[in-house]
Symmetry: C2
Subunit: 179 residues, 2 copies
């Protein structure tokens, strides 16, 4: 699960370009990609994030799942340890979305994106907010890491990791942290 808002997204685009340039410049066993590629590859992952965010806010389950590879493995914020395959992850998403009454409020911070060849990752902090079915307001900051692969020119998410920290002293999930 991941999202964005426009201002941090813009900042991340600006930050991602030098990171990409650095990745290209050191120790590569291949010739550096043209600079055109750096910008367009990062931009493609940002478009993925935008599409995901739009679908997630709108409870559009088909729109979300179209962004994942069939073999996706997800370590989600809720049990079990992992969801293997798009169908299992779809069920997890469906149950998550069903908790909310109306659109979901999303905010992302400290988004980092890096691409090389046909492999990419994005990571950041994400606030998921909204009104639950029982009328209570919920807001929780999670950490997300996503891995993407490009096939036939199209980027799909092959691995998600979403979590909150745990307090081993009390055994509690730590749900009230803010960046």
């Amino acid at each position: 699960m991941r999202t964005t808002s426009f201002l941090p997204l813009l900042a991340a685009v600006l930050m991602a370009v030098p990171a990409r340039a650095q990745a290209q410049g050191n120790g590569s066993s291949r010739p550096p990609a043209a600079s055109r590629d750096s910008n367009s590859d990062e931009a493609a992952i940002h478009r993925w994030v935008d599409r995901w965010a739009k679908a997630f806010r709108a409870h559009d389950l088909d729109g979300i799942m179209a962004l994942y590879a069939p073999e996706v493995v997800a370590y989600d914020v809720v049990p079990p340890l992992q969801f293997s395959g798009r169908e299992a992850y779809r069920k997890d998403y469906s149950e998550f979305l069903a908790q909310y009454d109306g659109p979901i409020d999303l905010e992302i911070r400290e988004l980092r994106i890096l691409v090389d060849g046909n492999l990419a990752y994005a990571a950041g902090l994400e606030r998921i907010g909204g009104v639950l079915k029982d009328g209570q307001r919920s807001d929780v900051w999670v950490r997300f890491t996503s891995i993407f692969r490009r096939r036939g020119g199209r980027w799909l998410d092959i691995h998600d990791h979403v979590s909150v920290p745990a307090d081993f002293g009390t055994g509690k999930a730590v749900l009230d942290l803010k960046p």
Copy 2:
């Protein structure tokens, strides 16, 4: 945090080669790397995991931290939301290791590794066991995702994500799951 044991590691090496071949074969904007590269790149990440595991089991903090990039960002199993930079993460590692009396017992399952160019990721399920300073035995399965970048021919970890799932109904971290 991540580790391995020899038998799953071997299985993962065997599994990783077709995955890599598939990544190379679809939608690349660059020529495919020689097959020599596929094997040696995956093997380099496995060696990273081996070195990390050896250092972690032995409480060798310098050995662990030598495997990380200075700018590493970590979403660890414990608060806060993130650790930014190698020094902050070193302190986190130091406090984690100090909980254990004697060597740490590690087991990894379902390790997945993928490399393209100078970017790689590894993810899997990991059991961290040992005797705590209070004499209690602890065993917990966590999920980990790590991102690596190659610079000057050397792979360093630039992003870690380690977690257990959370039960939002009870507010508890779920520490007793098994794969």
